[in-house]
């Protein structure tokens, strides 16, 4: 596949502090990638470097096979032909919504512009609002217009900085699927930056998890959840708790919940103390289960309830029970562990 964008070992500074270091990844034409990380990890800086707003201290960025940024040279953003959705929307206050959306469409006739604006407004669920102004809209609506404006010129690459952060969950889910479909249909390459894993999972094919300006793991959403390469990734993606365990052999571990077998070969010598990641879906509610636990917290999630369970040894576990298993805090329940693959890290 054709590599559209190649980020090679870049370093960027923000106010004299190096916020992005030794960061490399490649984006193929037509794919959608996500940069996921807690706030302040440098993900927006990476996006701004790709757009050409931030100069590089080292490394280089190649766009369509041509060097766009390197130390001492930054190709101007207006020459990169990218689309960008800004975190703070950046709508033009003196233009109405239709004009905002059509701002980048210089070569179309008035009628074509009107048509495009209509289509895009419909996509973002705001049809009929062509003549409104940005200040008359809520944050979520402005965000949708910003997205429509970036999609209008059908750029080859679209950069999105937290494009759904101000939308309610239902709209966010619908819009992320819709945007993904549009990008895939028109072959537009997308790069999304977000701190919300659900958003990233919904839209991206490949995700890089970032911490302190570095990518810790570059993988599919499935692998990030089920096979995190680092403790931070395991912690950041999804929910879960760590349980102390001792390596028994190359394929089994002993925890306080019993022996867990691993599909992968464990590389630690026998007797090493490790922390095993237990996801809430690894813990099954079972009245005849072998592990007694006391419920210390509960959080209602709709179809499921997330319980925090306290074991006799003092360790805590998270567990998802179907919603009708409604237990009170302090109640004792019995659970079983059903971990089919083991994710473990050296004991902390």
């Amino acid at each position: 596949m054709y590599t559209l964008l190649n980020i090679d070992n870049i370093e960027c500074q923000y106010r004299g502090l190096s916020v992005v270091r030794n960061l490399s990844f490649e984006v193929n034409r037509g794919s959608i990638v996500g940069l996921l990380g807690p706030s302040g990890c440098g993900k927006t800086t990476v996006l701004r470097a790709i757009a050409g707003f931030e100069p590089l201290l080292s490394g280089q960025i190649q766009l369509r096979g041509i060097t766009a940024s390197k130390p001492g040279f930054t190709l101007a953003p207006e020459k990169r032909k990218l689309g960008m959705v800004f975190q703070d929307y950046a709508l033009f206050p003196h233009l109405n919504l239709a004009d905002n959306i059509c701002f980048g469409l210089r070569k179309l006739t008035a009628q074509q512009k009107q048509q495009t604006a209509g289509q895009l407004l419909e996509l973002v669920g705001m049809d009929g609002m062509e003549h409104r102004y940005a200040h008359e809209l809520s944050g979520g609506q402005q965000q949708r217009i910003a997205l429509a404006r970036a999609l209008a010129p059908e750029p080859e690459i679209i950069l999105m900085d937290e494009p759904f952060s101000n939308l309610d969950i239902e709209l966010r889910e619908r819009l992320s699927v819709d945007v993904r479909n549009i990008l895939k249909e028109r072959g537009i390459t997308g790069i999304i930056v977000t701190h919300d894993q659900h958003e990233a999972f919904a839209i991206a094919d490949t995700i890089g998890v970032m911490e302190h300006g570095r990518i810790l793991q570059w993988d599919t959403p499935y692998n990030l959840y089920h096979e995190p390469a680092e403790r931070f990734v395991a912690d950041f993606i999804g929910q879960g708790s760590f349980l102390r365990a001792t390596v028994l052999s190359a394929s089994s571990l002993e925890t306080e919940l019993g022996i867990i077998n691993s599909e992968h070969t464990l590389l630690w010598p026998k007797g090493t103390q490790v922390d095993v990641l237990i996801r809430p879906d690894d813990i099954i509610h079972d009245p005849n289960g072998s592990i007694p636990a006391i419920i210390s917290q509960k959080a209602f999630k709709g179809a499921e309830i997330l319980y925090t369970l306290q074991l006799a040894t003092g360790s805590t576990l998270l567990s998802l029970f179907p919603s009708h298993h409604n237990h009170e805090i302090g109640e004792q329940v019995c659970v079983n562990i059903e971990a089919d693959h083991v994710v473990a890290f050296p004991a902390k």
């Binding site: 004299g16 502090l17 190096s18 270091r21 030794n22 757009a51 050409g52 707003f53 101007a76 953003p77 207006e78 020459k79 990169r80 032909k81 990218l82 689309g83 960008m84 800004f86 703070d88 950046a90 709508l91 033009f92 701002f103 980048g104 404006r149 970036a150 010129p153 950069l159 302190h212």
Partner: protein, 375 residues
């Protein structure tokens, strides 16, 4: 007994602290901690774990902060982890105190530091000028693009800016130039009357107003009115990322924002100066009539014979130069606004001060050159 355990693993340096970190004990670990930190590189992450510190007092906290802050300041990644709430608040308090101490030390700095500061200011100033010239270069290249592609000229924006900066400024310009005419007439009337040379008030007002005063007064009013508003407009557009958004849509901000403003002001300014000439002379004529009993027809016929058109032209020709300076400085300072609202105010002030200074300096240059040329 205080102790530390250093575990250097690839890019992560794990420093585990334990025992009593108190005044009597920290001296023992101080050098080891400093050595451990000195052994790390900028690329590695240093985690100082104080979970197993049993007793922790101010000496321990200061040692930790002193070591970690020094490296954080240099851009290293140093994290203190595992602090209890109490330890956390203690660290936060000493961090604040240490920052104050550093500030005071700087105040009590020696003579050398003062020179250093002057040097830094000078370097900043030179770099700042370099940026201004690069701004002018970008603007000039946009102008060449305009000339090569006349269809890309934004006439609508230019006309809107002429209306904003020119037409709407007429009342305030009329008022100030009328008052200037009044002031000049009053001051000279008293002096000239002493010598019985009252009729020369016409020369005085005619030449000083057209040649010097109305260009200068108009420029100062425009700098305060339009120069500042250019800075504020572009500054806000920068903060709200509108300029960035335009650039990602392949719009060059110099062509779309800067040039229409500069061109508009360069067109409007000479017209405003001519308008100010008329009103200023009328103000002088009005006072001459009251103070010296000089009739309007007498004033005008004298004006016709003494005021050569070259004086009027000299004043008007200054217009585009002043306008170019004011608009360029206004836009340049607007682009310099950083991502917080406070800086808009700061740069707006700087923009007006710079513009007025440049206008006066330019006027002085005109005086010298024109006098040498005998115009």
């Amino acid at each position: 007994m205080a102790s530390i355990n250093v575990n250097n693993n690839n890019d992560v340096c794990q420093i585990t602290c334990s025992g009593e970190w108190t005044l009597n004990q920290v001296a023992k670990v101080s050098s080891k901690l400093k050595k451990a930190l000195a052994g790390t590189t900028k690329d590695s992450v240093v985690n100082i774990d104080i979970t197993s510190v049993e007793v922790f007092d101010s000496a321990g906290a200061i040692l930790l902060l002193d070591c970690s802050e020094k490296y954080i300041g240099k851009g290293y990644q140093v994290h203190i982890t595992g602090a209890s709430d109490e330890q956390q608040s203690m660290l936060a308090m000493y961090k604040k105190q240490l920052a104050n101490v550093d500030g005071k030390q700087e105040q009590a700095s020696s003579c050398m530091d003062r020179f250093e500061r002057i040097g830094k200011k000078l370097v900043d100033y030179v770099l700042g000028s370099a940026h201004f010239f690069s701004f002018l270069g970008e603007t000039f290249s946009a102008l060449i693009y305009y000339i090569v592609h006349p269809s890309s000229i934004r006439f609508k924006a230019i006309i809107r800016n002429i209306e904003d900066a020119g037409v709407r400024a007429l009342p305030i310009i009329a008022l100030t130039s009328f008052l200037i005419g009044v002031v000049i007439a009053y001051q000279s009337a008293v002096q000239l009357e002493k010598f019985g040379a009252s009729i020369f008030i016409v020369d005085m007002i005619g030449i000083s107003v057209t040649r010097e005063l109305s260009p200068l007064i108009t420029a100062i009013v425009v700098a305060g009115r339009s120069g500042s508003s250019y800075t504020a407009q572009l500054g806000v557009m920068k903060i709200t990322e509108e300029i960035d958004a335009m650039r990602t849509m392949s719009f060059d901000p110099y062509r779309f924002l800067v040039l229409p403003r500069i061109i508009a002001l360069m067109i409007a300014m000479p017209l405003m100066i001519f308008f100010a000439d008329l009103i200023g002379i009328f103000g002088g004529m009005f006072i001459a009539n009251i103070q010296l009993n000089m009739s309007y027809s007498e004033f005008l016929s004298r004006l016709q014979s003494v005021l050569e058109t070259k004086h009027v032209w000299v004043g008007i020709v200054k217009g585009p130069f002043f306008a170019g300076l004011i608009a360029a400085v206004g836009c340049y300072r607007g682009f310099q606004v950083s991502y917080n609202t406070e800086s808009i105010g700061r740069y707006t002030t700087i923009s007006v001060v710079n513009a007025i200074f440049l206008v006066i300096a330019c006027d002085a240059a005109f005086s010298v050159v024109l006098t040498e040329l005998g115009i």
